[in-house]
Amino acid sequence: MTASIPQTAALQVENLHKSFAGIEVLKGVSLTAEKHDVISIIGSSGSGKSTLLRCMNLLEFPDSGRLRVHGEELELTPNHRGVRSRRFQRQIERVRSRLAMVFQSFNLWSHMTVLENVMLGPCLVLKRNRIEVEAQAKKLLARVGMLEKCQMYPDCLSGGQKQRVAIARALAMDPEVMLFDEPTSALDPELVGEVLLVIRELAEEGRTMIMVTHEMRFAREVSSKVVYLHQGRIEEQGSPEQLFNAPQSDHLRRLLASQY
C-alpha cells in the first residue's frame, strides 16, 4: 500500500434504499469494503441481508443510493429500473463482472461441464484467450479440489462439490470483491466443512469478501468486520470481537443467544 496509489475502497454502497411492493426492506444502508476486508453480514431471517447483497451487484435494483466499485460510481434512481441506455447497461455489466457472486443454491449451469462452467465468464465477459482461460480454470479447479471432476456435469456432484465449483467459477472472473449469500446453508452438515475450508483459504489470501452467513463461529474466525443488519438498517458493526463478545443492541444479543 504505497502512498502514491490513492486508497479507494473496493466496494462502497451509500444510503441504499429498496422496497418490495411498498414495504421498505433496506432503509438507508451504507457499507464500505476496503481491499482485503472480509465482511460478514449477520441478522435474523427477513432482515434484508440477501437483498443488500443482491443490490450490490444490481441483481435487485435499489430505489436510491450510490454504488462505487473500484473507482466506478453508479448513482441509482428508480427510473433506471426500466429501459436503460446502452451505456448504462454496459456500465452495470462492467460493475457486475468485478463482483463475483456465490449463491446459496449454487446455480451452476446444468448443461455445461464443470470446466465449461468455470470458463464461460472469462471467455465471454472478460474476452480472454481460450487456451489461457482453460489453463487458469484447471488451476482454480485443482485449488478447490475439483480438478478430476472437470469433465463431469453438475448433476453428478454433491452439494459441497457444486459449491466448490461455483467458487472456482467466481474466482475465474478475478473479481475485485466476492459476494457470498449463505454459501453453506443448502448443504448437508457434513459437507459444510469442505466449503468453509475453501472460503477460509481465500480470506487468508487477502481476497476482499462480503458474505451473508449464519455460521457465527466461522464469521468470528475469518471476518475482519461484522455487520449486524436488523429490519433493513445496520444496527451494529465492528470487529468480530466487539460484536460477538460485547454486543450493544438487545436484538443482536438475543440473536447470538439463540445461536449458541
Binding site: F103, W109, G121, L124
Partner: protein, 247 residues
Amino acid sequence: MMDILTRFSGQLLAGAGLTLQLTAIAALLACALALPLAIGRCSERGLLRWPIRLFVSFFRGTPLLAQLFLVYYGSGQFRLELSQLGLWWFFRDPYYCALLTFVLNSTAYQIEILRGGLRAVPYGQIEAGVAMGLSRCNQYRKIILPNAYRIAFPALGNEIILLLKGSAVVSVITLFDVMGQTRRIFSQTFDLSVYLWAALLYLLMTSAFVWFWHRLELCLTRHQRVRQAPSTATAPASKRVSAGVSP
C-alpha cells in the same frame, strides 16, 4: 393386396417424398420464425406481446384445413392485387400455399412450446449469468436457449409428427403427397388396401422420426444421465480440498 404395392410403390414413394419435403421445410422455417416470436411473446412490452398472442390463438384455434383453404382459395379473391404486387406466382401454386400455411401453423404451435421452455429455465442459472456481467445476448446464447430447447425438445418432436400427419390435407388442393397419391390410386383401382399401405407408410415415417428424435434427445440430455453413486463422490472430497489448496 401385394400387387397394389408392387404396381404403385413408385407413386407412393414419390408421395412420401413430397410429404417429407413439405414437413421438413415447414418445420425448419417455423423453427427459425418461432424463436424470435417466442422471445417477443415473453417480453414485458404489450406492443410486442399482443400481436403474437393474436397470431397464435388464430392458428391454434382453427382447423389446418380451413387455414389451407383460406390461403389457397382466399388468395384467389385478391388475384389482381397480388399480381400487381408480383406475388401471384406464389399464391397460384398449391405447393407454396401449402408450405406457407404449414409454416404459419407450425410457427404458432412452436411459439407456445418454446414459450413454455423459456419460462421453465431455472431462474438461478440465468441469475448466475447476469451476476457475472454476461450481456443479454450471451445470456440467451449460452444459458437460456440451451436450457429452453432441451426442455421443449419432446414437445417440439410431437409438433413435427402432428405436422407430418396433418400435411395429408394438401391432397385436397391437388398436391400428390402420400394421401394424394393414395386417393389417385384408389380412384383407378377401387382397391381399399391402398389405404392400408398409406397408413403403414405414415407409420414408417413417424416411427423413423421418433427414433431419430429420441437419439437426439439422449445426446442433448446426457448431462442429466451421468449421475453416479453419491457415496463415492462425497467421502474423499474433504481430503482432496486440503491436499489441493496449498498456496
